[in-house]
Symmetry: C2
Subunit: 140 residues, 2 copies
DNA sequence: CTACGATCTGGAGCGAGGTCTAGATCAAGT
DNA sequence: ACTTGATCTAGACCTCGCTCCAGATCGTAG
C-alpha cells in the first residue's frame, strides 16, 4: 500500500486496458492528448511500459470522465500535476467545482427518476385495470 | 389542469423553446427525426403551432434525454404512443428499463463523488499543513 | 528460424446530438 | 407601404470522444 519502494513491475498497454476499462486505442489517444501526467516509459523496442503510478492516475481519470468531466479539464488537471507542487489550491478548486457539477447531476437524475417512476405508475395502473380505463394517450 | 376542454392557445416555436429549454433548432430537429407523437399543426402561413399536448410530451422528452435516453429510444417510445392503445406493456418495459439505467447512473455518480471528495480532502489537508507535508505528487 | 499475436505510428472515420447558414416568407407595428 | 423580427426549408457543418485502418515492428513460443 503505497510503500516507499514498490516492487514496480511495469504493465503493457493491454494489461492497463484490462485494469482500467479503457481500450488500448483510448490509452494511446489519452497520451497523445496530454492527459497523462508524464510521458509513458518505453521498452528498447518502443512498447509502452506503464507504472502503477500511471495506472492510479488513469483510474482517477476514469472516474472523472465517468462523472462527465470533459477531456479539456482533465488535461488541465494533468498539466497542473505535471508542473509539480505549488498549485495545489488550483487543483483543489478544479476538483471541487467538478464535485459540485456531479452533485447537480445527481440531483437532476433523481428528478428524472421520479418523473419516470410516476409515468411507469401511470402505465402499471392502466394495465392493472385491464386496459379498460380511458387512458388519455398523447402524454401518457 | 387537464380539463376535458382546455382553452387551447397554441404556442409558437419560440415560446415552446422557452418553455422546454430546447432551442428552436433542436425542436425542428426533433420533429424531423420523428420524436414527436404527431405532426405539429401549422398556421396557414406554415408556422408551427404547438398544443399543450405537444409541450407536455416535449417536457417528458427533455427529462428522458437529460437522464441519458438515446434519441433512438425516444423515437421508439414516440412510435409506440403514436400507434395508439394496445402496446402499453411495451411502453412500460421501455420506461422501466430506462429507470434501471438511471438508477445505475446515480450509483456510479455517487461512487465518483466519493472518490473526488476523498481527493479533495487530500488537497485540503495538504494546504492546511501549509504545503509542508511531503505530498506524493503523481497521483495526488 | 518461423509464426503469431501484441504493439507501434499517423491519420482517417464514425456516431451522437445537435447547431448554423442561406435565402425566402410571414406577421405585426408605424 | 415599409421595416423588423420571427419562422420557414434543406442541407452543410461542428464538437466530442473515441475507434479503426494500414503497414511496419516487436517479442515470445515452438
Amino acid at each position: 500500500m503505497t510503500t516507499t519502494e514498490a516492487a514496480e513491475q511495469p504493465l503493457s498497454i493491454g494489461e492497463v486496458a484490462e485494469r482500467t476499462g479503457l481500450s488500448v486505442h483510448a490509452l494511446r489517444f489519452y497520451e497523445r492528448e496530454g492527459l497523462l501526467v508524464g510521458p509513458v516509459r518505453r521498452t528498447s523496442g518502443g512498447r509502452r511500459r506503464y507504472t502503477s503510478f500511471d495506472v492510479d492516475w488513469l483510474l482517477i481519470c476514469v472516474k472523472l470522465r465517468e462523472s462527465g468531466m470533459p477531456l479539456a479539464d482533465l488535461k488541465h488537471f494533468a498539466e497542473l500535476v505535471r508542473h509539480g507542487p505549488g498549485n495545489e489550491a488550483e487543483r483543489l478548486r478544479l476538483l471541487d467545482a467538478h464535485r459540485q457539477r456531479v452533485d447537480a447531476q445527481i440531483q437532476a437524475l433523481e428528478e428524472c427518476r421520479s418523473v419516470i417512476t410516476w409515468k411507469v405508475g401511470v402505465y402499471a395502473e392502466h394495465l392493472a385495470r385491464g386496459e379498460a380505463g380511458g387512458l388519455w394517450d398523447p402524454t401518457a
